[in-house]
């Protein structure tokens, strides 16, 4: 299997379910192994709540550390942030804000998408 580019989208609030951390585990899994697939990680809708400053990341620290080493940044859709009254100042430092049109660009670029 050749290398693929995979887009991961996160749409669930971070607590009360395991979507957010299992999703990050899957991201790391996809980047590992012989094919070393490349990834984008985008937070949409309520998923952006994971990116707030001060969120307890204990469950996902290792996954995030691995992604940081790979140079993968966590991306948040600007329109989803605005709908929740959030701006860059409310978010963790490792987050990049992108426009909805850029999310669409990532969708176009991806060989496949996986949602959590």
């Amino acid at each position: 299997m050749a290398q693929k580019h995979v887009l991961f989208t996160f749409s669930h609030d971070p607590y009360g379910s395991i979507w957010y951390t299992e999703g990050l585990r899957a991201v790391v899994g996809v980047t590992s192994g012989i094919d070393e697939h490349s990834v984008d990680v985008v937070y949409l809708g309520d998923g952006v709540n994971f990116l707030r400053k001060g969120v307890d990341r204990t469950d996902s620290t290792r996954y995030l550390g691995t992604l940081a080493k790979l140079g993968t940044r966590l991306k948040a859709e600007k329109e989803s942030l605005e709908a929740r009254g959030l701006s860059a100042a409310d978010l963790s430092d490792d987050v990049e804000i992108i426009l909805r049109s850029q999310v669409l660009g990532l969708i176009q670029k991806a060989d496949l998408t996986i949602d959590f």
């Binding site: 749409s11 669930h12 998923g47 989803s80 969708i107 176009q108 496949l112």
Partner: protein, 89 residues
């Protein structure tokens, strides 16, 4: 090959505005996704489908707008094979 958005309700809600910006997008409403309001997708020119069995179970067969094409799971498979799937369900 178009982008084929598969939308359930909870996650699919987030994909609606993205699909609306995606020229030539096809959107399939699956399971609780049949409850989604897709009017602005129609205005954006997207093709909108709903899985008939999922609409029937929820009593929505007559309640969906006329621009929503009802398909069965066999037709859904055909769409999946023929297009690039963007999964939001």
């Amino acid at each position: 090959m178009a982008n084929l958005y598969l939308l359930d309700k909870a996650i699919g809600q987030n994909a609606l505005p993205i699909a609306a910006e995606d020229k030539g997008a096809k959107v399939v409403l699956i399971q609780d996704g049949v409850y989604l309001n897709t009017e602005f997708l129609r205005k954006a020119g997207a093709e909108v489908y709903a899985v008939n069995q999922d609409a029937q179970k929820r009593g929505l067969t007559g309640g969906l707008p006329s621009y929503v094409k009802l398909i069965d799971y066999g037709q859904l498979v055909d769409l999946i094979v023929a297009n690039k799937v963007i999964n939001f369900c």
